[in-house]
Amino acid sequence: MTNFQPRSHSSNTAILETKPIIVARDVEKWYDNGFHVLKGVSSTINQGEVVVLMGPSGSGKSTFIRTFNGLEPYQKGRIEIDGTLIAHNQKGIELLRREVGMVFQQFNLFPHLTVLKNITLGPTHLRGLSKPQAKANAMQLLAKVGIAHQANKYPGQLSGGQQQRVAIARALAMQPKVMLFDEPTSALDPEMVREVLDVMRSLAESGMTMVCVTHEVGFAREVADRIIFLADGTLVADTTPDEFFNNPKEERLQKFLAQILH
């Protein structure tokens, strides 16, 4: 069903040049009500890496991932996207956001636009593509996520799984340097989770840099290069899936795994 361009190298990250795409240093954030949600979180995500973000509910996963495209401003520390700083005051954030794709739990497709127009809206207005160019690209992406035949339907006519695949195509149409996923399968009926994870897996194999908040253990084990574990706004672990699941050292992580794996 899905076939994005394969990586030019083998998927072994060791032989990829390590180029940092997201650099987060001592990121601290307070919500307006004074709640200290991120308490100095640091991490670097390199080109081509697939990083899964896990942690208990309320630990700050969504907040952290949303600082990477400025949907949440932060007050201390620094975040760079491919070398460009996201300023605390968010100056010029729109330009940076074009380089960072995001997929939401609730899909957030535009209900008044057809599937095709959902995808071409950004490229035609922000990337200067002509309508035919944008349409051709969109059709290619739709073929890759397996729903080319739905191009002229409205989002409301599609199933949740199909809508989420359109949302992935919409984000990819901007040719981002990194893709962020915030629980992309949590709002889906169980039988549709697989089709979305398959698309994400194939995207990972194509070499896309990805940061995914997800509770899908199978995906984390098989697709992630690293898993970051957040608890109470603090980064508790940042390690390989094997270490994470089979040899967890931190007590907080052991407790979490006991709850989600039984």
Partner: protein, 224 residues
């Protein structure tokens, strides 16, 4: 009852009535178009988060919605010339109606804008759009779909409001009726016909509104 109906006075003067109806339709459509633009911009100001824009817009809405339209019309037609702004009866009618309809539509469209989930704004921001572009391409179309029926209701009220502009001698349908009535005293026949013509105008506008709804808001059928 020994009144004998005589509609011949209507037929003999139908051109006067139709000319009035035409002006009523024209004033209505132009004022509604301007008023809608005011409503969309007003709703933007009301929801922008900019305190000053919000306060100015809210003051406008409050003043217009809590004063009689007739006084607004008199103010524009008789009051503004004192400041050197002199408008024809027709211009004053259109301006006052647009300003009046704009205030009501500001609040109606604002309700539509506020009905759009935050996720739509976030999706637009995540792509890289600025706030104004999100408002225009992403928020306003489904917002209008959500409040369309209420807006059409207000449009019809605006059409009916136009009858008041006869008070400044704008030669609309009501003015034509008054004129004929004062010359023939065939009040029943004349105002009966005038009412029918208003009905026809409102139905025409309703029909157009229905066609627009079917074309522009097709997607709304599929929304859950």
């Amino acid at each position: 009852m020994n009144y004998s109906f005589d509609f011949s006075v209507v037929w003999e003067n139908i051109d006067i009535l139709l000319a009035g109806a035409w002006l009523t339709l024209k004033i209505s459509l132009v004022a509604i178009a301007f008023g809608l633009v005011i409503g969309v911009i007003g709703s933007l100001c009301r929801t922008s988060g900019n305190k000053i824009l919000n306060a100015i817009t809210l003051a406008y809405v409050e003043v217009i919605r809590n004063t009689p339209y007739l006084i607004q019309l008199f103010f524009i037609f008789f009051g503004l010339p004192n400041l050197g702004i002199k408008l024809s009866a027709e211009q004053a009618a259109i301006l006052s109606l647009a300003v009046n309809f704009g205030a009501y539509s500001t609040e109606i469209v604002r309700a539509g804008v506020e009905s759009i989930p935050q996720g739509q704004w976030e999706a637009g921001m995540a792509i890289g759009f600025k706030k104004l572009a999100i408002f225009r391409y992403i928020v306003i179309p489904p917002a209008l779909a959500n409040i369309y029926r209420a807006l059409v209701g207000q449009v019809i009220l605006a059409v009916l409001f136009t009858s008041i502009v006869s008070q400044i001698a704008a030669e609309d349908l009501t003015y034509a009726g008054d004129y004929l009535n004062s010359r023939t005293f065939r009040s029943f026949e004349i105002y009966f016909t005038v009412a029918l013509l208003y009905l026809a105008i409102v139905w025409l506008i309703k029909g157009v509104a229905f066609l627009i709804e079917n074309q522009a808001f097709k997607f709304a059928k599929y929304r859950r």
